[in-house]
């Protein structure tokens, strides 16, 4: 168990080191998220932002930019033809999956650290009303989204037309996570906040994450066989 986690951390560190040197993913993903926010401003701002739009805007921007980052993390392995080497490594398959997942999560967290305050500023969302609850919703929602996304992105590495297949698979599958994230966040941002409801969604997200990560670990081992 600890060996698996160690191997996962090694793989995550490798990805993060590549990222730290090029900063390609973090800059492009971040800028893409901001570009999404701009489009949302055209759609949802009349005199001021329409009521309760901020939660949806935030989560859609994160889901879109997350998809972009997902596609790219495995693109690197494909270009360097290193995926087979990674799978040949004498560690459990689960370690490869977890390593990729951890690296992606840290990347998305870095993006969220900047995008969330921007949403607060541009769409006047009350971020500080329940900061811990909001952070919890974002963290658990991102974990579930990335857990499904990492699995599908890994599966699609060798597929033709993977760029379009990834979002097609991802959005229906992550629907429960997105619903829980958006509704929980909207309950915090609402004019009459309902923190108990937000806590309910947080608990649901925890349950979803447990299911998703368990199934994804099993499926990853079964699918990535060559």
């Amino acid at each position: 168990m600890t060996r698996t986690l160690q191997a996962a951390w090694t793989i995550a560190r490798k990805d993060l080191r590549i990222e730290a040197r090029s900063r390609e993913l973090v800059y492009t993903t971040l800028f893409f998220a901001v570009a999404c926010l701009l489009v949302f401003a055209f759609a949802f701002v009349r005199e001021r932002p329409i009521d309760n739009a901020a939660a949806g805007i935030l989560w859609v921007a994160l889901a879109f930019s997350g998809t972009l980052a997902l596609g790219r993390t495995f693109e690197r392995e494909r270009q360097g033809e290193t995926l087979r080497a990674l799978l040949l490594a004498p560690v459990e398959r689960g370690a490869v999956y977890l390593g990729k997942l951890i690296a992606l999560l840290l990347l998305m967290a870095a993006v969220e650290l900047i995008v969330v305050p921007i949403v607060g500023l541009l769409f006047s969302a009350p971020l500080l009303r329940a900061p811990a609850l909001l952070a919890g919703l974002l963290a658990l929602g991102t974990i579930g989204f990335a857990a499904i996304g990492t699995l599908f992105a890994a599966m699609l590495v060798r597929a033709s037309s993977r760029d379009v297949l990834l979002p097609i698979l991802l959005y229906p599958m992550t629907a429960p996570l997105l619903i829980a994230g958006v509704q929980g966040t909207a309950a915090i941002f609402a004019d009459e906040p309902n923190l108990a409801l937000a806590e309910n969604w947080l608990a649901m997200l925890l349950f979803f994450d447990a299911v998703v990560v368990t199934v994804a670990l099993w499926v990853f081992g079964a699918v990535m066989t060559e």
Partner: protein, 219 residues
């Protein structure tokens, strides 16, 4: 065994479906919705058939991932296709009914939304199957397993989000005159489903055998 059963099932289904319109015409009118309610008999039957097909697909996909049995793969493919077909029937008859009884074509309630999401999951299974290239059986099996696992979660999450659809307790509370007609239609749909499953699985097996021969010839 299945091969001999298919014509029998198809003929029986044809008889059931041929007689169904007369039964539905003579069934008692519903108090509030009137004649529009009669779409219920096909709508709910095809929805249940879709559920069944989704479960078959998820179980067969898991079996394929575990044992790599090609039969399981062919079953999963057939079930995914039929889930999409019967789901399309549900998604077409639903709005027709909703327009008359709720006044809107589409309502984002739990059952409607989760049916749509489920239908999209199995459609993406088929898209992946068709366009992913080599190894798409394994990839789509993973999608099949995930679709099976996520569907209840989708339902639960949308259920908390919003609810407007008649709840499941409509079925046990159906008046006897309606229940008989509905069961008749359900049996028709299930027989059609089994026959189509058998045919589609056989087609998938033949295609795989043909591909094998093709490969053997090239070597």
């Amino acid at each position: 065994m299945m091969n001999r059963l298919v014509p029998v099932l198809l003929i029986a289904a044809a008889i059931v479906f041929g007689y169904a319109p007369f039964l539905i015409r003579d069934s008692p009118a519903e108090d509030t919705m009137g004649v529009v309610f009669k779409i219920f008999y096909f709508h709910v039957s095809s929805a249940l058939t879709m559920m069944l097909s989704a479960i078959v697909c998820a179980v067969a996909s898991a079996a394929y991932l575990r044992r790599r049995s090609r039969t399981a793969d062919h079953l999963a493919l057939a079930a995914a296709e039929l889930a999409v077909v019967f789901g399309a029937i549900v998604l077409i008859t639903g709005p027709l009914w909703a327009r008359k009884s709720w006044g809107f074509w589409w309502v984002w309630d739990a059952r409607v939304t989760s049916t749509l999401v489920m239908w999209m999951m199995f459609s993406s299974y088929l898209l992946l199957r068709k366009y992913a290239g080599v190894g798409s059986e394994t990839l789509s099996a993973a999608v099949g397993v995930f679709a099976g696992v996520m569907s209840p979660l989708v339902y639960k999450s949308v259920d908390i989000w919003r609810t407007q659809h008649p709840t499941t307790n409509v079925l046990p509370s159906l008046p006897p005159g309606m229940r008989g007609v509905w069961l008749w239609c359900l049996v028709g749909f299930l027989m059609l489903y089994v026959a189509l499953m058998a045919l589609r699985t056989r087609l998938a097996a033949s295609q795989a055998a043909l591909d094998d021969l093709h490969l053997a010839l090239e070597d």
